[in-house]
């Protein structure tokens, strides 16, 4: 069920980040070629096209590229920088303030200076229309069309670009929203989103927020994708442009343009998909992913080869670590997303003191400019990367020599700012900073493991991103995880995920039935009818479906949170029925530590996922990634330098390898540093590194683990 690039077909993945744009092309001969170019934040499509031009310069443009898969931060940046469209919101009469009121909780206690995130739609553009539908879908008050017309005339006049529509109880009966949709579609040039087109779920605030974000993003994302398409056309690209969604599936450009709220975690999701793919091939089905860049670190979990999903994401509120309960720091987006926890700890995180003398690292970050002190570009405040430089974990240059490292500047920053205060030499303080940064990032890892009732010792840590491999062993030691995996191309790993991802389409159907009142026959019929309907609609839009996945959201009747339980294919006979109910009780016990087998189980939603076109099969992808590695390039001679491993171990003479190919067959004991083009790996004392048959660097320690 997987495709290989056939004939002269080329598949390309492009991931844009704040500093660099990574491009990897999978060629028909099974090779991969890659380019890393500077991102062009004013118009990211320029950087992409530039990179593609470099990569394909020896070829005849992009004609052989059949599909280009894109991971992008355009949506996230647009929200963080508040650069979305001028957006209006249409609500039921009496409820214009729902979006600003939110859930009234705050994510931090005792803060007299707290600020709510500013409303993305000013009150003057939150427009009420007379209408009302009750909780059973009955019309209480008919929609006043003239209210809508009056508002839209005014909006036109004032240059509103996008309109979000969210009416009360539209998840039960969308008739009024659709009526407004018809009036909106008579006004060309105005982008709009109806909540009932995006999601049919109870909860007016969460649905409004999702709808507003979508409308707010639509013009920006649409214009961006237009520019990208036009740039690609100039390069003779005639294939399909696909965009990565927050759920780890690819969507076509039309869907991305209509539903940009679902691509907010595009890039981070790709990294998890890559981990899943490489893990499957290499025999690691239970992984905690650890993706560390310059400003944040992200963690997620892959269990039995499956990624973990969450029904909601909160954006624009800065950093999150699975803090769904303490939400309120940002705008919720109700959509199935890969469950990621994120903390503000990266190479650029700043070191600072509070008034009682407490030492902290992050979440504030130096950003790309001026960067850490050791970059020598004017930064004076010590960062995590400076600590790594003082500890000699990174050498004289990174990124293949393109970024020189001035270690003495890191020393000065740490000594002046921190070491004097603590009365300790800079290397000891640097080690403390390194440990605190690791501890901060562990919160993200705990959020996706311990807080979900999963014991990290049952998992392998897979580390990637520019800085992931520098901290992985330290974190694994603290979490008592016995094995760390550093895959090939760790520094551009997200792109591998773009090449592995399937093109997917999702549907959530709100059912809300008590399972004890529903026999297996009833359920089979209910699910069957929804499936049939869904597949017919996809086919009528010319979409091929290669596989259909089914999940049900279950909870104990009365609870507010559900757990997603996969449903086996085929008719739901009594046996299958009993099996997935038992699976729910077990999942509840596993996740929360208790269950209640005697209680009534409620079916909340049915989720259908159609796989329309699969990505490159994991095997092929892994083979290509291995070849992409510059296995024999450059000098192989190992050198040594002293590096500092804490007060007990002290300074140790440390072997430095230029590539992972330098790891001897029998493995090598730490301390070892491997400096590759896209990432630096640290193997501390007590850990061993070896290369597996898939060119993963596998770190193991004697200390561990559940086995």
């Amino acid at each position: 069920m997987s495709i290989k690039p056939e004939g002269n077909a080329v598949l390309v993945g492009v991931d844009i980040g704040g500093t660099f744009t990574d491009i990897v092309a999978a060629l028909p001969d099974g090779r991969m070629i890659s380019a890393k170019v500077r991102s062009t934040p004013r118009d990211f499509s320029l950087g992409i096209c530039d990179g593609l031009r470099q990569l394909f310069k020896a070829r005849d443009g992009l004609a052989p590229v059949v599909q280009l898969n894109h991971g992008t931060t355009v949506a996230t940046n647009c929200i963080l920088e508040r650069k979305g469209a001028r957006t209006a919101l249409i609500t039921s009469s009496g409820f214009r303030d729902v979006f600003e009121i939110g859930r009234v909780r705050v994510p931090v206690l005792y803060d007299l200076q707290y600020e709510k995130p500013p409303s993305l739609v000013e009150r003057r553009w939150r427009l009420e229309v007379r209408e009302r539908i009750d909780a059973h879908g009955h019309v209480v008050t008919s929609l006043a069309d003239d209210d809508v017309a009056r508002h839209l005339d005014h909006a036109d006049e004032k240059g509103i670009e996008a309109v979000a529509v969210c009416l009360l109880n539209s998840y039960v009966n969308p008739a009024h929203e659709r009526q407004i949709g018809r009036l909106l579609s008579e006004r060309p040039g105005l982008y709009f989103t109806l909540s009932s087109d995006l999601l049919r779920e109870l909860g007016e605030y969460e649905r409004t927020s999702t709808t507003v974000l979508n409308a707010y993003l639509m013009p920006v994302v649409s214009r961006y994708l237009d520019r990208l398409r036009s740039g690609l056309r100039d390069l003779a690209f005639a294939g399909d442009l696909m965009v990565m969604g927050s759920n780890g599936g690819l969507m076509d450009v039309e869907t991305a343009t209509e539903q940009p709220a679902f691509m907010i975690e595009s890039g981070p999701a790709a990294g998890v998909i890559a981990a899943q793919a490489i893990g499957r091939v290499s025999g690691y089905l239970n992984l905690i992913t650890f993706d560390m860049g310059g400003t944040t670190a992200k963690a997620s979990i892959v269990e039995d080869g499956n990624v973990s999903e969450s029904p909601e994401l909160e954006v624009g509120g800065g950093i999150s670590y699975g803090r769904k309960l303490v939400g309120g720091g940002g705008y919720p987006v109700r959509a199935t997303v890969i469950d990621l926890a994120e903390v503000g700890a990266g190479g650029g995180s700043l070191v600072w003191f509070d008034q009682a003398g407490g030492l902290h690292v992050g979440p504030r970050s130096t950003g790309a400019d001026p960067g850490p002190a050791c970059y020598g570009r004017g930064g004076t405040q010590a960062t995590v990367t400076d600590a790594c430089s003082v500890l000699a974990y990174i050498g004289d240059a990174i990124a293949g020599g393109s970024v020189p490292i001035y270690r003495e500047q890191a020393q000065v920053a740490l000594a002046g700012q921190v070491a004097t205060r603590l009365g300790k030499p800079p290397h000891e303080v640097a080690y403390g900073v390194y440990e605190i940064a690791a501890a901060n990032m562990m919160r993200a890892i705990k959020a996706v493991s311990i807080e979900r009732g999963r014991d990290p010792r049952d998992f392998t840590l897979i580390a990637f991103g520019g800085n992931g491999a520098l901290f992985a062993a330290q974190i694994a030691t603290a979490m008592r995880m016995g094995t760390v995996l550093i895959p090939p191309l760790a520094g551009v790993f997200s792109v591998i995920g773009l090449l592995a991802a399937d093109v997917k389409n999702h549907l959530v159907i709100s059912l809300k039935r008590k399972l004890n009142a529903l026999g297996p026959g009833d359920l089979s019929e209910l699910v069957g009818a929804e499936e049939k309907d869904y597949l017919e609609r996809l086919r009528s839009r010319g979409r091929g479906v290669m596989a259909l996945e089914r999940t049900v959201d279950l909870r104990y009747a009365g609870q507010n949170y559900h757990l997603a339980i996969p449903v086996p294919a085929g008719p739901l006979d009594a046996n299958a029925h009993a099996q997935f109910i038992a699976a729910f009780h077990e999942a509840h016990r596993k996740t929360y530590g208790h269950h209640a087998p005697g209680e009534v189980v409620e079916l909340v939603n049915l989720r259908l996922t159609a796989v329309e076109r699969p990505g490159i099969a994991s095997e092929a992808l892994s083979r290509m990634a291995q070849c992409a590695h510059p296995l024999s390039s450059g000098p192989q001679d190992s050198v040594t330098r002293p590096a500092y491993f804490g007060p007990e171990a002290g300074w140790l003479s440390t072997t430095v390898l230029r590539t992972r190919a330098g790891v001897p067959e029998a493995g090598i004991a730490g301390p070892v540093i491997i400096e590759e083009y896209d990432a630096t790996m640290l193997i501390p004392p007590g850990w061993r590194a070896r290369l597996d048959s898939h060119q993963n660097v596998v770190l193991t320690t004697g200390r561990q683990s559940n086995g």
Partner: protein, 579 residues
């Protein structure tokens, strides 16, 4: 004082707070009642062996300072008769609790045979029996009307559930399935707390862990010491009022005297009203808890949340006053009193730290219960709170649509209410021209109107109908709350601040929350801030002119600067020179 490496401290603090986070999340995801799943009316904490709080989840600030009292009651009752596998509960205000709906669940944590601490999850239950559904009536006059009293008792005794206790609870509460479901969630959360603490002990060793906990307490104490030293020594007094006690209609006075010395703070409530007839009495433990939560706001938010913050704070309230009542005073509605304790103490602080303390917040949430029998004859109880706004601050406006800083509850989705209860919500939003004017204005009032689709009981506990939130530094006071039945119709009725009554199918109950106080002279407010509020229909044109002296031209949507200058001049001339 224990000296520990700052790095080890930060690591320990992160570990403890991620454990309390986890306790909170588990409770929320698995709870059954609206109190847990929507309102988030519960709190998690970890304690050391001495019963000092070493970490707190992002729950209800008002809950936490009361926990030591609960801990003492348990020790008083059981002494050394506490064993691995025990799960201890209590709710009695005269034996460790603060009001009956709040049930504390404690799990002692043992490392081998040594008790090293405990995990606590306190939750507000949807009903604990008594006179009215929801067990929250303000017009109770005795604790015996308020529901089932649980002295410290073992829910689980060495791992074995105490069935007799569960049976008694089941017969005495109106929604036993919800109460039992929530108790299960509390127990699960405590088990998570236990696991988190034991993981630390296994990793670092008991001696190191305890030493680091002590150092964390010392650290927070040092932070508080720093704050106290910034304050000018002396005595600062303030008074504020609860509108009435739900029975007599008489105002109830809170008098506070804050004495700042070089190294300590003393908070005394002598002069406050005697014990009230109605249920607004606040147990002394709750009064102390509210004082602590206010003073905690003086520390940077990221300071480790532990009992170290309160070592230098002494609280006194005369026995027999409504801030330290004697048995059998009713206490169900003590939440409103706690909020007024906050307001009074913030008022005193605003004299000591005028450039740090905002004007008064909304004065606490309004709590509402609707109850009746559903079509299957089963009791339903709808529990809601309306949370409003915060006061103007020394450097920026207050906020609307938020909790005050010492409560942290959530609202219930309108669609969830309408799906589960025979009620419809007609309006939920801000009320223009409310809140106190100021250079930095107070947050606006919120309005919520419910329409009843069947006959039902309605119980409301509001306040600030008469005594509005105060303004400061020349800022105007906030605006009153309102309770109206069938507003806008010919037979509109103004209801008291606190009541229990029947409502009938078709009746509409409308609550307007208080608007928060303003900070600084309104005539000093940035004219563009006023313009934005006018364009956003938060202020009317007339109000902008009358109160702020800002003249907005509605056609150009601009400020007429010259007219504004003259208008402000005119208003200044008329202002009495009180500020």
């Amino acid at each position: 004082m224990a000296e520990i490496d700052p790095i080890a401290l930060e690591l320990m603090n992160n570990s403890l707070s991620s454990t309390t986070d986890e306790m909170m999340i588990t409770t929320h995801r698995t709870g059954y009642s609206g109190s847990i799943k929507y309102l988030i009316d519960f709190s998690a904490a970890l304690f050391n062996a001495r019963g000092e709080m070493i970490a707190q989840g992002v729950g209800m600030p008002h809950h936490l300072g009361a926990m030591p009292g609960a801990f003492e009651a348990i020790v008083r009752k059981f002494g050394d008769d506490i064993h691995p596998g025990d799960l201890i509960a209590l709710n009695d205000p005269y034996d460790g609790g603060t009001h009956l709906p709040d049930i504390y669940v404690f799990k002692p944590i043992f490392f081998g045979l040594e008790r090293v601490g405990s995990a606590v999850l306190m939750a507000h239950h949807i009903d604990v029996g008594g006179r009215t559904p929801g067990s929250m009536a303000a017009d109770n006059t005795s604790i015996h009307q308020e529901g089932l009293r649980l002295p410290p008792l073992k829910l689980h005794d060495r791992g074995v559930p105490n069935q007799a206790v569960f049976d008694i609870i089941g017969k005495n509460v109106r929604a036993p399935d919800k109460v039992f479901g929530d108790l299960r969630a509390q127990a699960a959360a405590c088990a998570i707390g236990e696991r988190g603490v034991l993981a630390l002990v296994h990793r670092y060793g008991l001696e190191t862990v305890q030493r680091t906990w002590d150092a964390l307490l010392d650290y927070t104490d040092r932070m508080m010491q720093g704050v106290i030293r910034e304050m000018t020594g002396g005595a600062y007094t303030f008074e504020d009022f609860v509108d009435d006690d739900g029975m007599t209609g008489e105002p109830v006075r809170i008098a506070v005297r804050l004495v700042v010395t070089e190294d300590s703070l003393a908070v005394d409530f002598t002069g406050s009203s005697p014990q009230a007839k109605g249920a607004i009495n606040s147990t002394f433990s709750y009064t102390v808890s509210c004082v602590q939560s206010v003073l905690r706001c003086l520390l940077p938010p990221e300071t480790p949340n532990n009992a170290g913050a309160f070592r230098r704070i002494k609280v006194t309230a005369p026995e027999g006053s409504f801030l330290n009542p004697k048995y059998p005073a009713a206490v169900a509605a003590r939440g409103v009193t706690g909020c007024r304790v906050d307001d009074a103490l913030f008022g005193a602080l605003s004299k000591a730290l005028p450039h740090r303390i905002p004007a008064a917040n909304d004065g606490g949430n309004t709590s509402m219960r609707m109850a009746g029998l559903d079509e299957n004859g089963r009791q339903y109880i709808l529990m809601e709170v309306v949370c409003g706004s915060r006061g103007g601050r020394p450097n920026k406006d207050g906020i609307e649509g938020i909790n005050n800083p010492n409560q942290n509850l959530s609202n219930t989705p309108v669609e969830a209410l309408e799906a589960d209860f025979p009620v419809r919500v007609n309006q939920y939003g801000f009320v223009p021209d409310t809140g106190g004017a100021g250079q930095y204005r107070g947050g606006m009032s919120l309005v919520r109107e419910w329409e009843y689709l069947t006959d039902a009981m309605l119980q409301v506990r509001a306040d600030r109908c008469r005594f509005v939130p105060w303004g400061t530094q020349g800022g105007r006071p906030g605006t009153p709350s309102e309770n109206l039945l069938n507003a806008g119709s010919a037979d509109v009725q103004r209801l008291p601040s606190k009541f229990v009554r029947d409502v009938h199918k078709g009746d509409r109950f409308r609550h307007v929350s208080p608007g928060a106080g303003g900070y600084g002279d309104p005539l000093e407010r940035d004219v563009h801030g006023v313009l934005e509020d006018v364009l956003d229909e938060k202020l009317s044109l007339d109000y902008a002119r009358r109160v702020y002296g800002v003249v907005v031209d509605p056609t150009t949507e601009k400020v007429d600067l010259e007219a504004t200058r003259l208008e402000r001049q005119r208003l200044r001339a008329r202002q009495p020179s009180i500020n």
